[in-house]
Symmetry: C2
Subunit: 135 residues, 2 copies
Amino acid sequence: MDFSDCPCTGKTLTKLVKPLVMTFLAKGQLHGYAIQRLLESQGSFQSGPPDLSGVYRSLKEMESQGYVESSWISNDGGPPKRCFSLTDNGRACLAIWKKTLIDYRAQIDELIGFMDELSPEELDAKGGERQGVEG
Amino acid sequence: MDFSDCPCTGKTLTKLVKPLVMTFLAKGQLHGYAIQRLLESQGSFQSGPPDLSGVYRSLKEMESQGYVESSWISNDGGPPKRCFSLTDNGRACLAIWKKTLIDYRAQIDELIGFMDELSPEELDAKGGERQGVEG
DNA sequence: CGCCAATATTGGACTTACTCCTATAGTGGA
DNA sequence: TCCACTATAGGAGTAAGTCCAATATTGGCG
């Protein structure tokens, strides 16, 4: 059985691009491409770093919501850059994200705990008998 | 500032319906409505338990992929039920989910760690000065 | 010079995992 | 009669991504 296209590999899990980007921006201004390089160097993604165009779209959306702001910086030897920084609203949003992610981690912990309670036959072995129709 | 519609509240985070449902089914047969009641009693969701119609759709999709199978059970005093059980392929998928979620939890841990490193001014306080244009 | 890689931003079209609302249908209680 | 509960299901929409392609500038290699 081939599970390489199955969500169980984690390829459809959200990569939490917005909170990650806001966390980077909390330390100082960055442009989109630099953010992407940080994400790429960040190694811990299930199935590669987030897509570049998605990062730019997230930035644009966060700007329209007032969480980041940008200005064009001319770039001698290269195309101009759009430089992003976090606003006060963005910092407040990030603080909420932190609480939310702590709760979310606890929720995932609980699910992993349920999985830990399963016997080898229930989890993976062949031919485990079923029983107990609820109703 | 009102953040009640913002993703930072966690309302757009995935609820991991499929691995959760598969974990319940690993312990024995269940029908959709009973699964929903288990999810509702499960308390740890950011913004309420998953939507019922989404649970049915997940079950249908997992059945088409061979991870669960179902049979109709007649129900004296009520409409018939579609009773689901986990297949061997489903158990193998669930085992992969477990590894994936352990990795995913580590990834969230790392992000929370970055957030922990931020100073109060960087995270939430008013008027923190920005500096350090990368590039 | 022609071509390719890296830097840098952006849009079109698509997928996944949900959401909310509605429909259908039987049972039992006020 | 009307409503709540049990039980399944579809239409339409949203959020957060994906892949692919377009645009533009600079610099290195042959």
